[in-house]
Symmetry: C2
């Protein structure tokens, strides 16, 4: 079986308008890297039914897993669950187990379990619920699509619920070397080394510190011994 | 002419691996909103030629403008300019004006203008250079695609160079109301109001403060008088 891959779909006008700065992408990227399911693509789309359906269908076909964030709350602009159902061509209903979870939650809180709150129990047919230890309203997994909340604390808790259930590949390891030399100075030798190690990904990331250019050289791969070997070569080239 | 729209393509393994947290998307989203060119979609892809070409061609066809960030430095993993040339089916060469800019820059800095640095003068045929007041190496505009650096300070300076040259639509205005009430409590009335104002976008964004749920209600649109009217209705509904 080939190693698993992942994509992410961030859903929400508030990200695209610049009102809210997304943090879920960075969080998920780190978690997936540690779990050996490299994140290959991210898309951000607005609260638009057609845009969500098209992105879901493109990404679920191209990657082992698709993780979505946003649009599963109680308000009229929360349209993700319906879009997922449409993307898969399945029905969506108020599901009994989700209704029971939410009814108990609002009962404990002394709040009415009104129509808006009941909306959060609408789950596409065939989905498995994802636990929400923060605010109860569940996410769900349908096929290879994991549908989660946009609120960072809830998103992170749902990722913690889902990830252990997925088969990871070998974790992506990385080593980096920080140099106070510009990229243009080290590019030729670094590029030659990268060509010698086609099984490793080598990237260079410039920065400035006190007005001086520096570069972080990063080597990524799944074979620790090969990483050690390549890093020893880098250190010999450029000094520690 | 219909109002202009925009998409963004973030290019870089370092974002997808979780090593680097992207900040350019949030910056560009805010600038475009102020300029009246709403950001409709963002994609993040890895340093992979085929992935970049496919995303560029999909997004430049779907939006008035496409802004890219990342992959235009001197190292082997900087492959954006070549991918853009391939996407448009045009040649890419060391262009004389870009060579001259960079040669003068490295001459002033007393650094060799080596092959890696010369690589940053490779520009697809037909492109217009984008000024880089920070580190000289230019971005470029080809057709409706604006190709910019990934380093945030340089990206931001390039956006400042490009945006005033683009025809903006009416700026997207927004007003928000912060309530210490949960989304589930206000959803029905808020949804009914949103249905009355189909020309405005209304979104609700939950938060917690000291363990209590609150909601920011946001109204967006281009007609200030309509926004004022809808906000007055909201305040009457829920209190200031």
């Amino acid at each position: 079986m080939p190693n698993p891959t992942a994509a992410m779909l961030v859903i929400g006008d508030e990200i695209l308008s610049g009102r809210t700065r997304d943090s879920n992408m960075h969080f998920l990227a780190g978690e997936l890297t540690r779990h050996g399911i490299p994140l290959g693509e991210v898309r951000v789309v607005s609260d638009d039914h057609g845009a969500i359906v098209a992105a879901v269908n493109a990404l679920r076909a191209g990657f082992t897993h698709l993780f979505t964030s946003g649009g599963i709350g109680p308000t009229h602009d929360d349209i993700t669950a319906d879009a997922i159902a449409a993307a898969f061509g399945v029905a969506i209903t108020h599901r009994a187990d989700a209704v029971a979870l939410l009814a108990a939650h609002y009962d404990r809180a002394g709040l009415p379990f009104n129509a808006a709150r009941q909306r959060m129990a609408r789950i596409p047919d065939g989905a498995v619920l994802i636990d929400n230890p923060i605010s109860t309203a569940p996410g769900f997994t349908l096929g290879n699509v994991h549908v989660m909340a946009g609120v960072p604390k809830i998103f992170e808790a749902m990722v913690a619920s889902v990830l252990p259930t997925l088969v990871g590949g070998p974790p992506l390891l990385s080593q980096s070397l920080r140099l106070m030399r510009g990229e243009g100075e080290i590019a030729a030798d670094f590029g030659a080394l990268a060509a010698e190690y086609p099984d490793l990904a080598m990237g260079s990331y410039p920065f400035t510190q006190d007005g001086t250019y520096g570069t972080n050289l990063v080597i990524r791969g799944t074979d620790g011994a090969r990483l050690d070997q390549a890093m020893a070569r880098l250190v010999a080239m450029f000094g520690a």
